[in-house]
Symmetry: C2
Subunit: 476 residues, 2 copies
């Protein structure tokens, strides 16, 4: 056996979805992978970090979409991981296309690169087991297999797909050929699987050589392969959007792994959880003596088996049984735990009704800090703005609104027209319509200011940026 740890692995992190079932904490512009559900780091950051012992940031890439790219850049940048590549799909075409695109891009530097593919938003408690499985997976990938990671099931979960093992590939019971893939089964079948043994949850983690994957793709998904292969030319390369338009939308599992013959499964126990619905919170967090998970300012009287999460406001609960309450500054979800999957349908409905609560939070993260919309009326909007030390907003102009800034903490440097001045706390400035202005924090402490906008049109798109220091997806 080759020393697997020496095979240069490439990490491909799929960060295309937004985790609708985690609404109202997740929003389309604040997806699940950037949530800090389980500590001070986002799930995306944790995903990158746990790979570092085998895959340095220079060999990691995130596949995402234009909506999320800036946020993902921020998450990586905050950790000093600017080398992690961000590949932007022009539209979502499921995992076969995303992984195929990554394989094409990697070909530019390593024909026979071994790629390990990870979802950006899963929880893995036991990093050592993951890395061990990764070494083993890389070995079999090198040998020409499409390797999947299977999680030995601990309960008859109906929310996951299963992989049935076939003949062993080694004599230690560490790797098997796959017999078949089973889509989310009904409860009775899932119960059979758990009892029978040799069935695993499909973790969505895969390891393979890029040339092996592309060979399988050309055979089982020739339409997709043909389109993506057009990107390999050096001259007159087609636009990615053009290529994607023609790509079929299909998962890697369904489109390739279920059909190919050189597929292997590495069973791995590593405290894995796909954090798929609010149910995961009940599994991953400490529970009180009545099996409730209480997070934030919650006052409960006699509830049991609940998930009660208060982001800011007081949440008071009495006598609930198996209820999820998630309270955010602009939206509250109250859902029976047996129906946590249906949050997805709810979000579809919010989208259909064009409710802003499905798109973003009242607090919006920006590269320079963040802002919170506190109040708005027909002719005004009030925001709290925080500018981190050393950061500055773009030099900008609004055609239709004036702004009053009252600094409440720290000292801001403000450009208004030709003038530059320092504005200390308890001072205010006025920025008339059509006047170029810029807000900067030249100090080492964050500044906070209250912005009162007045005017007949107060949307974010009335910003003309004259100068901007930050990375945007269309700027790179």
């Amino acid at each position: 056996m080759v020393d697997a740890a020496k095979i240069p692995l490439y990490g491909v992190i799929l960060a295309g979805g937004w985790g609708t079932r985690f609404w109202p904490l997740s929003r389309s512009q604040y997806p699940k992978q950037v949530l800090r559900l389980l500590g001070s780091e986002s799930m995306l950051q944790t995903t990158v970090e746990r790979l570092l012992p085998r895959i340095p940031t220079q060999r990691q890439a995130v596949v995402t979409n234009a909506d999320q790219a800036e946020l993902i850049h921020q998450e990586l940048h905050r950790k000093g991981w600017d080398e992690v590549r961000i590949w932007i799909e022009p539209e979502g075409k499921n995992t076969a296309a995303a992984v195929g695109l990554a394989a094409i891009y990697l070909g530019e530097e390593a024909e026979e690169a071994v790629m390990a593919v990870f979802p950006a938003d899963h929880f893995i408690q036991d990093q050592a087991s993951l890395l061990q499985a990764l070494d083993l997976g890389a070995h079999w990938a090198q040998a020409g297999y499409l390797v999947t990671f299977g999680i030995p099931p601990t309960r008859p979960e109906t929310g996951y797909g299963y992989i049935k093992q076939g003949a062993p590939l080694d004599d230690q019971g560490k790797v098997y050929r796959t017999d078949r893939f089973i889509e989310k089964p009904p409860l009775d079948r899932a119960t059979e699987f758990v009892a029978a043994g040799g069935y695993y949850w499909n973790s969505g983690i895969f390891v393979f050589r890029r040339d092996v994957l592309l060979a399988a793709m050309s055979r089982y998904l020739p339409d997709l392969y043909r389109e993506l292969a057009r990107l390999q030319v050096k001259e007159n390369r087609p636009l990615l959007a053009e290529v994607y338009q023609n790509c079929p939308s299909i998962s890697l599992d369904h489109g390739i792994l279920e059909k190919a013959e050189n597929v292997a499964v590495v069973p791995v126990e590593m405290g894995w959880n796909d954090v798929g619905t609010w149910e995961a919170v009940h599994e991953l967090f400490p529970r009180d003596e009545r099996a409730n998970v209480l997070l934030g300012r919650v006052l409960d009287q006699g509830s049991q088996d609940c998930i009660l999460l208060a982001q800011k406001r007081l949440v008071a609960t009495i006598g609930l049984d198996r209820i999820i309450v998630v309270d955010t500054p602009d939206a509250t979800l109250v859902c029976h735990r047996d129906r946590a999957q249906e949050v997805k349908n709810l979000v579809t409905e919010l989208h259909r009704q064009q409710m802003v609560e499905s798109v973003q939070h009242t607090t919006v993260e920006r590269p320079w800090g963040r802002y919170t919309v506190m109040d708005e009326g027909p002719s005004f909007k009030v925001k709290r703005i925080v500018v981190d030390p050393g950061q500055k907003l773009s030099l900008q102009v609004h055609q239709l609104r004036a702004e009053h800034w009252v600094v409440v903490t720290g000292t801001a440097q403000v450009t208004i027209g030709q003038e530059i001045r320092l504005v200390a706390s308890n001072q205010s400035v006025y920025i008339p319509q059509k006047t170029p202005h810029r807000l900067e924090n030249p100090t080492v402490e964050p500044i906070q200011l209250i912005e009162v906008q007045t005017g007949a049109y107060l949307e974010e798109d009335d910003i003309q940026r004259l100068e901007d220091d930050y990375w945007h997806p269309d700027k790179d």
Copy 2:
């Protein structure tokens, strides 16, 4: 029979409690009787109004406490009912003391006044039936009876006290002696009462002559009578607080009506509801096809028999059964309907923990308009202030904070030190610490402004009022 409509009735409205079981809509400084649950008028206003055909405002009085007096004055003032008297108890001593105090006060103008006593926060759908019962009650009160109003029960409610009728007093079945009073019964007894007939819910509405009441009080509650009677002297009259200190705390029912022999009950069907808990909302509001009451911005999927109330934020619910959700700007209640009574205990706990959410809302009603606290931090507070047309705040000084005002709607007249100026929308002014200032709305449109306070101490008690146009309990 005397023409009952000609007996000059006095109305005494008891408004001492705050309706804890309606938290988080009710707060100790925003009690249930001022809620506009059932339309554009508060329950207190509706209570005064429905009596007007028999009892003009000049003969109505509200018994309340110092905390609520200003708010109650506002409620009455807004309707132009400044003649309604407000009698302030120095502390709550239950209904016997409150009614006794009213009887003593009424003695100054009408020795044999017939008093009708009403809770401030009940719902009565059928005003005509109430007035008819009032006429009948006044007649029997005049004749020397302590008259109670009994509601024919429509279900075996365990949350109410019952009155059992005794011998008829007339030959039309319209009025009976009372046989006895029964405290909130267990379900099996309540079921028996409903089946048997001749039992009524105790509505808390009473009619009697003041001299008859005081005679009964001197017999059955001599300690209470002796204390209250001290208020009748003209000279060296004791302080009310001193008198109240010694008053026993007991209900009128328990202390007098259960014992006296001259007690009558008038059965009256009038669509009565004591609006005692959130359950009342399920009875009084329209329900959807799955028996849910939905109020405000609620998006539900498949819940049934729920009460779902969103005051501002979006509330999304999935698959709930018999759950109450009440979402207010600073607190959310989620409670099983079978445990709606326990909201009271919850509020006791909030009080014990000194949580502001039990005391007031983020929006506070003032005689001149209202303000909403939108945000606060260690050294700043942001409010939205609305000043109604023609109103002005007091001329005031803050020792420890400065204020920035940005007018966003309308035109304000602002006094700062010696200067008076008009501040139009999109203009701002700065009020330094220790500077007398005043905010006025001289126009016919409401004004809205954003106030940013800065300073190390930002509580409401840093206000020194130099001039003030409004009624306060300690000012009259």
